[in-house]
């Protein structure tokens, strides 16, 4: 296996440029949990001219909805959800300064193009290993949409969160490199709103 690269959030353009599809990464710093309905609400806020729950500049969104924390613990189990469901919202967020995304599975061509254009990066976390991943979360605080329960936005402080670069800003794509079936790519395009 390749050497593991250590990076910190917020992400800069230079950090994004230094990453390539297939790189193993340990990420440290703050990331924001947001999934389906949180994205829908953020888009509503943008359309209505209201401020977003957190400034996007340089930030990283983790497509995740954790289990509730046991007493004395910062968070419950946490892990990535399927990223492609957030594809319809993502190019606009990248345009507004979002840099990093953590999830699982493929992105649409529109998202991949936006990652290149706005110099972002899409990381994959392994799904179904939430007991392991939660050990990297040191603190969690509510940011917005608490009424959505697991779908609300939390600010998570992570330490050495294990990731793999799937899409880099140079057009690199781990799934394309691994020759995944065309049917899988086509499926994500069909899901675009």
């Amino acid at each position: 296996m390749e050497q593991v690269i250590t990076i910190k959030t917020p992400l800069t353009g230079d950090v994004c440029k230094s990453l390539h599809a297939g790189d193993r990464v340990f990420l440290t710093g703050a990331v924001y949990s947001a999934r389906d309905t949180a994205h829908h609400r953020m888009m509503e806020a943008i359309r209505e001219g209201n401020p977003l729950p957190f400034p996007l500049q340089g930030e990283t969104i983790f497509y995740a909805g954790p289990t509730p924390a046991r007493p004395g613990m910062p968070i419950g189990a946490i892990g990535p959800t399927t990223s492609s469901r957030m594809d319809p919202y993502t190019p606009e967020l990248l345009e507004r300064g979002l840099k990093g995304m953590i999830g699982k599975g493929m992105r649409s061509s529109a998202v991949r193009e936006a990652i290149n254009r706005y110099c972002g990066v899409y990381f994959g976390a392994v799904g179904g290993i939430a007991a392991l991943l939660t050990q990297c979360v040191q603190a969690a605080t509510w940011v917005a949409y608490q009424d959505l329960g697991p779908e609300g936005i939390m600010r998570l402080q992570v330490l050495n969160f294990p990731l793999i670069v799937i899409n880099d800003c140079h057009g690199g794509d781990l799934y394309r490199d691994r020759r995944l079936p065309d049917e899988a790519m086509a499926n994500n395009e069909r899901r675009l709103l």
Binding site: T67, G76, A77, G79, G124, V126, I129, A131, P150
Partner: protein
């Protein structure tokens, strides 16, 4: 004919609650063994790395009583109810629901259900999906299956033509897996139901997932061959663990079948992520 036997709602609530907590924080021996075999068979370094993490996660989940996956699922309950059972102290489905509610509240499990249109969370992970078979005897068998959304999203049903035959069935199953790609958290377990009606094929596929992983169809040699051939095709796709490439895309293909109408050939595919969680109890 067995003797009439009372089973109390209290016992059912308690059992359902414990089953869902246990199912979410551990894997059964057959799933663990299948994942260990997958680790031996996988040749891609990235695939091996993913499988190592999956195996380490299960040990940790057990030790810390943390869910194996943050998606603790929609609660599916399969009941096998002996016709000589008398349920006391309430309503059977009410007791199952209460058991689910308590598991997700007291077990710190995620409440993952919402109104389909407003997307408002139901806040208690209710209602569960309950299927009941009434059988001879005076027992109640309860199977708890928390089912994750990512793999469920990749499942599907097709009404094939009789002319499509065995090759058509195989092609549909493999196409579903290819279309799913990395989304359902491979290595997956593929349940398939052939025959019956549209909805019965789907239920057969889902129930096929309850068979111990890798145990061939016990009733039909043709299905055993179809399972074997389909698994080989799936593992040639190169999707691999987590879609990062490799030779282990599925741990098993498990197929069940029923007669269907002379005009049709319903086929359903239920896709299960590697965190294949289910627990059962016999009352």
């Amino acid at each position: 004919m067995t003797e009439l036997r009372n089973i109390s709602c209290r016992e059912i609530i308690h059992t359902v609650k414990n089953l869902f907590i246990k199912a979410n924080t551990s894997l059964t021996d057959d799933v663990r063994a299948a994942l260990c075999r997958a680790r031996q068979d996988e040749t891609s370094p990235l695939g091996q790395y993913v499988l190592d993490q999956i195996l380490e996660n299960e040990v940790l989940a057990n030790r810390t009583q943390t869910p194996v996956c943050q998606d603790t699922g929609i609660a599916i309950v399969f009941l096998e109810l002996g016709q000589d059972v008398h349920i006391t102290g309430g309503n059977l489905y009410g007791a199952v629901s209460e058991g689910v509610r308590l598991a997700y509240a007291d077990g710190y499990l995620r409440k993952s259900l919402c109104d389909p249109l407003s997307r408002t969370n139901t806040t208690d992970n209710l209602p569960p999906v309950i299927y009941t078979d009434v059988v001879s005897g005076n027992h109640l068998k309860i199977v708890a299956m928390p089912k994750g959304g990512g793999s469920e999203n990749m499942s599907g049903t097709a009404m094939l033509l009789p002319a499509d035959g065995c090759e058509g069935i195989k092609k549909y199953i493999v196409d579903r897996v290819k279309t799913a790609g990395p989304n359902p958290c491979p290595p997956i377990i593929v349940g398939a139901g052939i025959g019956g009606t549209m909805e019965q094929a789907a239920l057969l596929a889902k129930k096929a997932l309850l068979r111990p992983v890798g145990l061939p169809n016990p009733n039909d040699e043709r299905l055993r061959r179809l399972e074997e051939e389909t698994l080989a095709e799936i593992n040639k796709t190169g999707i691999g663990p987590q879609g990062y490439g490799g030779c282990v895309t599925a741990l098993a293909v498990q197929i069940d079948m029923r007669p269907c109408h002379i005009a049709g050939l319903p086929v359903s595919v239920a896709i299960q992520c590697h965190a294949a969680r289910h627990q059962e109890a016999l009352l």
